[in-house]
Amino acid sequence: MRLSPEQFWTYFEWLIERYALLQGFLLVLILAFVGFVVGFVIALLKHGPTEGFLQVSKLIRELFIVDLPGTSFRRIGAIARLAIKEAIRKKVLVVVAVFIVAIMFAGWYLDPQAQYPARLYISFVLTTTNYMVILLGLFLSCFSLPSDIKSKIIYTIVTKPVRPTELFLGRVLGFTAVGTMILLLLGAMSYQFVVRGVDHRHEAMGISSDGRTGETSIQHAHSHTFTLDESGEGYTNETKGHKHIVTKVGDKIVVGDSIGDLEARVPIYGSLRFTGRDGEENAGLNVGYMSEYQKYIEGDSLSSAIWTFKGVRPESFDTELTYDMTISAFRTYKGDIVTPVGGVVVFRSMDGSVVSERFPFKVKEFQVDQKSIPLTDLKGFRNEQPAELDFFKDIAPDGKFEVMIRCQDRSQYLGMASADFYFRARPMPFWWNFVKGYISIWLQMVIVICFGVMFSTFLSGPVAIIATVSIIVLGFFGFFIDDIVKGTNEGGGPIEACIRIPLQSGSGTELDLGNVALEKSIKFIDKSILISVQTLSQAIPNFIQLGTADFVAYGVNLFGGLLSRHLTICFGYFLLTGIISYFFLKTREMAA
């Protein structure tokens, strides 16, 4: 699992600094404009320009003046309760039975020889639950309203003082309640399945004559070796993603529960910038097609990678500051091929007046290099004078500080990205991370329900399902539009592409029409179209981004900021689908 920088933006960074709020606002404006124009054109065809305009205006006015203020929680509750009763009496709980069967026979298709069994188990239950709950949400939401319309039950509903807002909200809340209930059941069963699946104990055996080393019995297709210290305590080696505490009790050596397989590491990420060999800031070096993800710094120069950390608090750590590195090396000459390329890590205050000593390291390619430094009695320099430092008092008094990495070997390069250096704060309980993973699934389910209900306000059940599934699939291709806008996908926008095709002009070359003004105009129009399309594409949920199963499976704490973002996105879709549903319900002839 490799985190991308946007995954560890804080909530407000995402909302304000990364323009999510602005994009949302733009989206609302564009959709409102498109909605008004489409509505007006339809009304114009039906009633003529003046009456058409009045009709559309009346519709918008009624939303804010009549229907929203007149919305009743009791009516919403009634429709929600009905949806719950309907689901239960139509035996929706069969989903739980299917899930029980799936995990009963999971042993048949989950490989016990897997390198990380916990990861496999967690991925399995989260993915299965995710698909089942999304399918459940899809079927519940897409068929209910069309079924009421087809059976004409809707006649007895809309002839009561029921607002379109209540029809939408009641159904969404009802189906969400049913889905939540089922998700809770599946979650509890999944947790038991994972915990019991990875739980195992070994017996100590093959103990050396001095009683300090030995190996364990084979359980769950693996065994460990262990070494005890003088006090008779120690750990086994790490196998299949976990280790065990080993203690000597009297003459007996006891191998304890496994640790490390069900955990939620709490990484603290910083933002990365680079300096060149002259010490001036740059974007990092590109060493060719080694990695699109990482940028490189040059060895034995002022070229450095500098991470800025904020909000790092002493209460998140015990006695040491633990950090993980995933640094890669690029060699311009082989040299001593056995000795890895080396670098140093330096911790310093934001103003640079307090600097720690240099901590040298050798690059461990394709591995997570775990290191730690003491929080107190740290050697370093204060105003260039040697001093004993306290990390949180001297270097990071307000939680802000910098970490600098330099490459020590001349003409060799070190590569890194933002997520390649992080601190490991005290881990969170696994169960809480598991719950957060399920909250993520819940949010996806709510989005599917919102879209399902929205489509069912104007489409028949099967067509509403196809439309909702299409939206989910389209969401997978949102990145393509992003790539075109960012320029990663070369060739320009739609007009430029249309010109390039007959001219047989390669997408990698500059557009050359012999008229700079014309070229600029085309690029300007293309940019406007692309930004509009990109904003509209935000209206389609990206379920890849919303999926967080990897966080739980790989034992990384699901950031609160990321979950809050997903919650906000979900709320945005709820509002969007709610407004669209309102207009469809308001303008639909229920008896037509």
């Binding site: 007149g70 009634a78 009905l82 009763k85 039950i153 006649y155 809309v158 009561k160």
Partner: protein
């Protein structure tokens, strides 16, 4: 059991706008296909008024525009031309529904709910507090005679029972204006009689009723005024008693006449240049005969009636 009484004249001031519950002005509806092409002209320029406190009947053969008219009044359809007003508000205004009860031609209800749940659900849609809902549901279940079936899911109900729970849901909010579409469909003669009695009782309570039916006898029994539609057009509108009156025929009902007197009456008619059309003993209706048999059977179970 109460018996059906002849329609009574209610004191309605036709010209008083506060007494007009429903008003349609040039109301028309054209059904179109997906491409907007005209399929059928279901209703043409309908102008009617339903006045407070009356039972207004909508009559007409299939496809005459009765159901379309009701649906337009309830906001289930939007007019192609003209407008419909209910309580002085546009028919599409949701707020008017607070004062309306509607019994559709089939009882379109959730079959997985029982009678109590059904009434509770519709009570909630009127934003009624729990205590009021409970009280009202109890009252209505008693009224429509579903005490024994109150906990059974509606899918187990007979057609008559479904009609009765349908009526109960239409009355949950104690509506001022009740729209009944084919209220006696699926009911046996006793049920039909009870329904008609109930409709008359509701009128006595001051409710206004719009009734749409194929059963001409039902309409004749209960309606004060009727509108007759055919092919989407209003063909006749007026009071039932005046519409049905045959102006040039005189009907005399007398009891205990001997043959001589009957002969004298015939001679008198002949002397007055009148034409004797018929003089015989009246027959009862099949409905009356059936109800008498059932009543007798209820009082003396196991015995064959002496009706023949």
């Amino acid at each position: 059991m109460a018996t059906t009484t002849a329609p009574t004249t209610t004191s309605v001031t036709a010209t008083d706008p506060t007494n007009v519950i429903v008003e349609t002005r040039n109301l028309g509806k054209i059904y179109r296909d997906f491409w907007g092409r005209k399929k059928v002209n279901a209703l043409k320029s309908l102008d009617i008024e339903v006045r407070r406190g009356e039972i207004f009947g909508l009559l007409g053969p299939n496809g005459s525009g009765k159901s379309t008219t009701i649906k337009l009044m309830l906001g289930l359809l939007f007019p192609t031309s003209g407008r419909a007003f209910v309580f002085g508000k546009d028919a599409t205004d949701v707020a008017k529904n607070e004062r309306i009860g509607y019994l559709p031609e089939e009882s379109y209800l959730y079959k997985f709910l029982n009678a109590e749940e059904t009434l509770d659900f519709y009570g909630r849609l009127f934003d009624m507090p729990a205590s009021v809902r409970r009280e009202r549901a109890e009252e209505l279940i008693q009224m429509v005679g579903l005490q024994r079936a109150r906990r059974r899911q509606l899918k187990e109900y007979s057609k008559g029972m479904t009609r009765r729970i349908g009526l109960a849901q239409a009355l949950i909010n104690e509506p001022e204006f009740l729209v009944l579409d084919e209220p006696t469909t699926g009911l046996d003669p006793i049920g039909t009689r009870e329904m008609k009695d109930l409709i008359l009782r509701l009128r006595e309570q001051g409710k206004t009723i719009l009734l749409c039916s194929h059963q001409l006898a039902d309409v004749q029994d209960v309606c004060d005024r009727v509108a007759i539609l055919h092919q989407g057009e209003l063909k006749e509108l007026g009071r039932v008693d005046s519409l049905l009156k045959v102006q040039d025929v005189t009907q005399i009902h007398a009891k205990g006449l001997d043959e001589k007197t009957k002969l004298e009456i015939k001679e008198l008619i002949a002397r007055s240049s009148g034409e004797m059309l018929r003089m015989d003993n009246p027959t009862t209706t099949m409905e009356e005969l059936f109800l008498d048999i059932v009543r007798e059977s209820d009082q003396r179970p196991g015995r064959r009636g002496s009706g023949a």
